[in-house]
């Protein structure tokens, strides 16, 4: 019998992602190169979107040693004209996993700013080369950082920092990574071109390893309206999220240090003056409405401990047990711990209880969620079997689960607020499609907002027919939150809807020159896999897609029948101008006439006959 000794140790987020890089799309050199391009380009576009800047993005991929066979080291550089990042944030933003500003609830391409750091991490693992970041956030100075990631500690290591004169804002990031462009090239080119289709307000340039430049100029000059950050909808909430939200509403018992004491003194107007405990409390009562929450909490504690400022400076609060009405503190002067009984009748007790137990359920619901007013909050509390005054900090685990369940089940919440979504808009989409495909016919539609499981979403769709589109059957371009989806087409909900379509009902036959552009916008796209390449078939989304497609197909059918009639008229005209003169020629001889009959009138008549529509 042998004993295996296991060691348990905490790992940093960097290390976690390093060990699980397959999950984030870094499974092999070709996929990794593609994923890295995506992450950097999407970050650049997101940054511009947030500040309402028309994006100007330059992407370049260069081989370090071009003669080497793939896979080999490539330098990937993405440069944008966005707001840049303030100098002090650069090392953390690029040298830490899970550092970013994208935690609010609104639609954006990436989530949590995680992907770019993953790309940096991957580059560092495969080539041992640092990332170079040039940022200009004020339009005057250009900060250049050369960074490595400390994987174990999840901290940046600054190798070099220099400052130059800058002229305009923007960010440029350059990494060296192992990639396989011969395999990934086609996908990357598709990705860039399709991104330009769904981002017609951006100018995108791509320089490939062979030095060939692909330039996609800006098609529309107006930015689509930007989304607003909003509170979550009750339907889209789980227990873990509630726990985090409750933790946010708890107020810490403030640390009683010198800084806090001077804050209290200044708010009471006693910067230099010292008073006895009772005088301090009187003064606090007079100014109560002007005092900040931490100061109120300190005053409440002072009232129970009967302390002045000197006493306060020698005290550390260790525990506040509201249930048992006990306060434990450490007295530095006596080097001893004390326990004080709290008088629950005192108004200061309520102040402390509020701080520790958090808000009432009623307040929590109305303040922290969208679509919950006072009346709905009361109705919900009754539905879930809670008192509206119940302090959320006092809920047990079971009660939290019941709360989360009830939030999802309660049917009287209005559907989610779509103002957090950023659809492209019908006009830019139509312009993009016209420019991109140069079709004979195109139509677009933006469906009104809908929701699944508490997450709002909007479906935008465009259809294009004929013109430069090849006769190769229906081709579908899928987008989600302005990102092209290129892999795993087969299992996607959009493909499913398109394939289920009976095109012959819409006068479309054979292998038509037909393109469908589908864009789903949501605060959370229900991807089927972690690879984020195909959208799952939620019934709500399916219904919206189907309605959009049918609307567009009807538009196309109208065009087709107009086209059909025009074609028919043309065909008739051709036929009559060919055959009537021949008939005239034959019957002139047959009837023994010398001169041909005047048949012009008949050709005209023949061309104008309306065939019954089938």
């Amino acid at each position: 019998m042998s004993l295996t000794k296991e060691t348990f140790s905490q790992i940093s987020p960097s290390e976690f992602f390093y060990r699980n890089r397959d999950l984030a799309g870094f499974s092999n050199p070709s996929r990794s190169l593609y994923t890295s391009v995506r992450e950097f380009v999407e970050n650049a576009l997101d940054a511009c979107d947030q500040k309402g800047i028309l994006p100007d993005v330059h992407l370049s991929i260069k081989a370090v040693e071009p003669e080497q066979p793939d896979p080999k080291a490539y330098i990937l550089t993405v440069k944008d004209n966005g707001p840049g990042i303030e100098s002090k944030h650069v090392p953390l933003a690029f040298g830490t996993v899970l550092y970013g500003s994208k935690f609010g609830l609104k639609q954006a391409r990436g989530m949590f700013g995680l992907g770019a750091t993953m790309a940096i991490l991957y580059g560092q693992i495969t080539t041992n080369k640092p990332v170079t970041v040039k940022s200009c956030s004020d339009g005057k100075t250009l900060e250049e950082y050369i960074l490595l990631l400390d994987i174990q500690k999840n901290k940046p290591i600054i190798l070099k920092h220099s400052t130059k004169e800058g002229s305009k804002t923007g960010l440029s990031a350059s990494i060296v990574l192992e990639g396989d462009y011969s395999k990934a090239g086609a996908k990357i080119r598709d990705y860039v071109s399709q991104t330009s289709l769904i981002t017609p307000y951006a100018s995108i340039t791509f320089e490939d390893p062979a030095g060939e430049k692909f330039h996609y100029p800006r098609i529309v000059k107006e930015m689509p309206s930007s989304p607003t950050i909003i509170k979550p909808h009750p339907h889209g909430i789980d227990v873990e999220t509630i726990r985090r939200m409750i933790a946010d509403t708890h107020y810490q018992i403030p640390n009683v240090d010198n800084k806090m004491i001077s804050k209290v003194r200044s708010e009471l107007g006693l910067v230099k003056k010292n008073l006895n405990p009772k005088e301090i409390l009187d003064r606090a009562q007079k100014r109560w409405s002007n005092l900040s929450r931490p100061v109120r909490t300190i005053i409440a504690i002072m009232s129970f401990l009967n302390l002045d400022f000197d006493g306060l400076s020698k005290t550390r609060i260790d525990d506040l047990d509201i249930a048992n009405k006990k306060l434990t503190y450490w007295d530095f002067g006596q080097s001893q711990s004390h326990v004080v009984e709290l008088d629950s009748e005192s108004s200061y007790f309520k102040q402390l209880a509020n701080t520790v137990l958090g808000e009432t359920l009623h307040t929590f619901l109305t303040k922290r969620f969208q679509r919950v007013g006072p009346t709905t909050a009361d109705k919900f509390a009754e539905f879930a079997g809670f008192k509206p005054e119940k302090r959320i900090g006092s809920m047990t685990n079971e009660e939290l689960v019941r709360l989360a369940d009830s939030l999802q089940k309660f049917e009287e919440f209005l559907s989610p607020d779509p103002s957090c979504l950023a659809p492209l808009g019908e006009e830019p989409l139509a312009k993009g499609i016209m420019k991109f495909f140069n079709p004979e016919f195109a139509s677009v539609i933006q469906r009104s907002a809908s929701a699944y499981s508490g997450f709002p979403f909007i479906v935008e769709m465009g259809i294009a027919y004929g013109g430069d589109i090849p006769l190769a059957g229906v081709k579908v371009y899928r987008f989600a939150n302005r990102i092209p989806l290129l892999y795993d087409e087969g299992s996607d909900v959009v493909l499913k809807i398109v394939n289920e379509m009976d095109w012959s009902r819409y006068k479309v036959k054979g292998d038509p020159p037909l393109v469908i552009v589908s864009h789903i916008c949501s605060t959370r796209i229900p991807y089927k896999t972690v690879g984020k390449e195909n959208v799952a078939d939620r019934p709500e989304i399916e219904r919206e897609l189907k309605n959009a497609l049918q609307y567009l197909a009807r538009k196309l059918a109208v065009h087709m029948s107009r086209q059909g009639m025009a074609d028919m008229a043309k065909k008739r005209a051709n036929l009559y101008s060919k055959y009537i003169p021949l008939i005239a020629q034959f019957v002139t001889e047959l009837s023994g006439n010398k001169k041909e009959p005047n048949y012009k009138q008949l050709i005209k008549k023949g061309s104008e006959i309306e065939e019954p529509q089938i």
Partner: protein
């Protein structure tokens, strides 16, 4: 005799004039429609199965009353309308210039006028449309099929084809017989000493009959139908019957196909239901009958499945519902064996001419 001849000439001339005036009439109608901005149209008797009926009085298949309009107004008919107009124009030239052509010729000639037929079946079909429209066989329009059969015997004809007008030939001058082609078909029948026409299915037997001087022994004109008699051959047989007053008898193989060859000469085919004057209603089928097989102890070969199927098909035909036609089919079906004309050779090469033919001719008098 002389009197009859002038009558014949007049008939042939009249027929040509009638045809030309028909064509001109159609031409004028269309011309006026075009001039006045009206869409011209043809009304063509329908040749669909449902419109083919057996006329007991005429003793042949004829087309019923339904007809189809082919109009230049209808876009899908415009092309075939033009093709038909072209064909009328083209045969008008053929007739006026005294030239003849074949079905295949028509297909190629069309290309000079940008009337593009997809293939020959399409042009053949338009020719049948023309026949149906005017109720004249294509031979009258100087269009002939490729297949040729021949004729031999004491018959004097006078050519009407260009370059040979007035020239006379006696059809017993060449022992291989004369091809029944455009010149012979359009020739006038002048004189004959024959009292009978024997139509025989096979070229080999035709030669034997000439060698054995059947034409002299039986005062006969011998016609080789070369299998199922072509239209021109049937037209000649009819003319010999109606113009020269000669009875027609038919000798064919002793099987269901032989019997039907005789029937088609007598009363026409469903395919030519739109045409008249191709039949010889009084023609007599001499043999070989099914009952002859036993009577003459002819060597036989077994019938194939398609032979038997053909018997069942013919049993549904109204013309096979009575008399000898019906009886012989039933005997064939009972025997399930067949005998060719050559089978008589078992009893000597001249057995058929010396023994069988005289006996059957005698019997035929009572038919």
């Amino acid at each position: 005799m002389k009197n009859r001849k002038s009558k014949i000439t007049k008939t042939a001339e009249t027929k040509k004039e009638k045809l030309l005036s028909f064509l001109k009439g159609q031409g004028l109608l269309i011309y006026n429609d075009l001039e006045n901005g009206r869409f011209p149209q043809f009304s063509i008797p329908s040749r669909s199965v449902s419109n083919i009926v057996y006329d007991k009085k005429l003793r042949q298949y004829v087309l019923g009353n339904s007809s189809a309009v082919r109009s230049a107004r209808n876009m899908s008919q415009l092309r075939s309308y033009t093709q038909l107009a072209w064909l009328a124009f083209f045969v008008n030239r053929l007739i006026r210039e005294g030239k003849s052509s074949t079905l295949r010729d028509i297909y190629y000639s069309s290309q000079a006028f940008t009337i593009d037929f997809e293939d020959q079946p399409e042009s053949d079909n338009i020719i049948v449309d023309l026949e149906a429209l005017f109720s004249f066989p294509r031979e009258d329009f100087h269009i002939f099929p490729e297949e040729r059969s021949s004729v031999f015997g004491d018959l004097t004809i006078e050519y009407t084809v260009r370059g040979y007008e007035g020239r006379r030939v006696n059809l017993s001058d060449h022992p291989d017989g004369y091809l029944i082609g455009p010149s012979l078909s359009s020739a006038e029948l002048v004189d004959t000493s024959a009292e009978l026409v024997i139509a025989i299915e096979k070229g080999g037997l035709f030669t034997r009959f000439v060698e054995e001087k059947v034409h002299k022994k039986f005062k006969a004109i011998i016609v080789d139908t070369a299998g199922q008699a072509p239209r021109s051959t049937r037209a000649l047989l009819r003319r010999l019957n109606t113009e020269m007053g000669l009875p027609v008898v038919i000798l064919a193989d002793g099987d269901v196909y032989g019997e039907h060859i005789a029937m088609v000469i007598k009363s026409g085919s469903a395919n030519a239901a739109h045409l008249r004057e191709l039949t010889v209603p009084d023609a007599k089928w001499l043999g070989v009958w099914a009952t002859d097989i036993e009577k003459y102890k002819l060597p036989t070969i077994p019938m194939t499945e398609s032979d038997i199927k053909r018997i069942y098909d013919l049993q549904k035909d109204p013309r096979y519902q009575e008399g000898n036609w019906k009886t012989q089919l039933e005997v064939f079906l009972k025997l399930k064996r067949k005998a060719e004309l050559e089978a008589f050779s078992k009893y000597g090469l001249t057995n058929i001419t010396d023994k069988y033919l005289p006996e059957k001719l005698e019997i035929s008098k009572s038919l």
